[in-house]
Symmetry: C2
Subunit: 269 residues, 2 copies
């Protein structure tokens, strides 16, 4: 299914939600019930999906947690993607990017074989390094701009020649390509002081917002400062939904957190 | 085996070479003989390794070409790493990086399970995003600085506040950490005009140099401008060694290219 801009706008408005659940199945943190099964990552995530798909807009799958388990992890990843209901928007959070010849192989894997709707990408190597992803016009390229970690001070917030921050230059550069309509930018919720200027700079862009919950970002302020007429964002919550009670977390706890976030979003909509 | 700085310096000087073979087993380009086997990526790369390990310092394995084949590609990758002779220095060219919690899972995979000596990384998200890799003190973090593609103009060569280029700021920032001795920077051979100032800025750093061969970088000029008392670099050649005659390439052709590059390096040593 083609889940371009129109589809995403409609789904956000139908669900009255920006909620994206981050599927981060950390093998050391998932409940023992799943950890001891033959497909722990898959079984845990599948249960989370079954308990949430009618309350969320999207899922963001953190590839590192599958990659770290070797070929067996990738098998579970491929099965997981197949069982997510087709109406949900699926982001592979892999943060890839390389020279064109190599990027085209990553693009082929994520956009053809895995067939997710969106993939996260590093901008450092410039526009041509991401063109093999951008050339999939029915898919979304989700480009890191201003991330939620403290290291965002090191380079992303450096001022460049024209007094822009580097992350603003990233947004401007990619939004000036022909691909702007299929690009989303990552903006960490831990950066509320930059949100108004970011929305002014990119009035029509979609943003993927990590950093709510465990990392301390505020939901209400983020929605107020970044929403536009289309909705214009997906708000990711991972650990606060998956592990609300640490190692003692049950699927009931997870369902409670999911409903709690879904209701919070609805009340802000 | 611990292949820290002293090991690498000795191996470069013993081999009288900077040669790193880039194992980029593009499934669409490898000879039909291998392509039709049950483990095409593994069998092709294994033959390249058997024909080269006594002439090279290092191998750089391009992870995208394995990842693009799904779980079966990862199985072949894991077998390949096991059969590379232990004296060779092995770089996984994966270009990863994420927030700390996620990076630590990538680090665990590459530095423990796969047990390669070095891993390539994106600097965009800042120092804390790479600390989980840097905390493996016996392993090398190979950080992108000035890459070989034309997109290096987009952000890497932006001038920042203090009139440094962004790539210089990356080198300076990471070299000012306690991890400087286990960090290598990627400097594309397509940027000869920046090499002298880079070596002046980072007199003791090791560089990983892509862009020789297919991308047009000059071997002799690169060696002249970047070598230091330790050698101080690994020069990667991929396509010009793996596919010198396109789809018609035989293992004899590959062996000829390997010996040719090995001899060119020796004559410059």
């Amino acid at each position: 299914m083609n889940k371009k801009r129109e589809y995403l706008v409609e789904r956000i408005n139908t669900m009255k939600s920006f909620l994206c659940i981050g599927l981060d199945p950390d093998i050391d943190k998932i409940p023992a019930f799943y950890r001891n099964s033959s497909s722990p990552l898959l079984n845990f995530c599948a249960d989370v999906v079954h308990n949430s798909f009618d309350h969320v807009v999207a899922y963001k799958i953190n590839i590192a947690f599958f990659e770290s388990q070797g070929p067996e992890g990738w098998r579970q990843l491929e099965e997981l993607v197949k069982l997510i209901p087709n109406e949900c928007f699926v982001i592979a959070d892999a943060k890839r990017a390389d020279i064109g010849n190599t990027s085209s192989h990553y693009a082929k894997y994520y956009f053809e074989r895995l067939n997710v709707d969106a993939l996260t990408l590093h901008p450092y190597m410039g526009v041509d390094s991401l063109e093999p992803f951008l050339n999939y016009h029915n898919k979304w390229s989700v480009i890191l701009a201003l991330t939620s970690n403290k290291g965002s001070n090191d380079f992303e917030k450096l001022k460049i020649e024209n007094q822009q921050y580097l992350f603003e230059s990233v947004i401007q550069k990619f939004n000036s390509t022909e691909f702007a309509d299929q690009i989303m930018f990552v903006i960490g919720a831990t950066n509320p002081e930059y949100m108004q200027q970011i929305r002014t700079q990119a009035p029509n862009s979609f943003f993927l917002i990590p950093g709510i919950g465990e990392q301390g970002g505020e939901l209400e302020e983020t929605v107020r400062k970044l929403r536009n007429k289309d909705g214009g964002m997906l708000i990711n919550v991972s650990r606060k939904i998956l592990f609300p009670n640490g190692l003692e977390t049950t699927m009931d706890d997870i369902r409670t957190s999911i409903l709690d976030y879904a209701n919070q979003m609805k009340s802000l909509f």
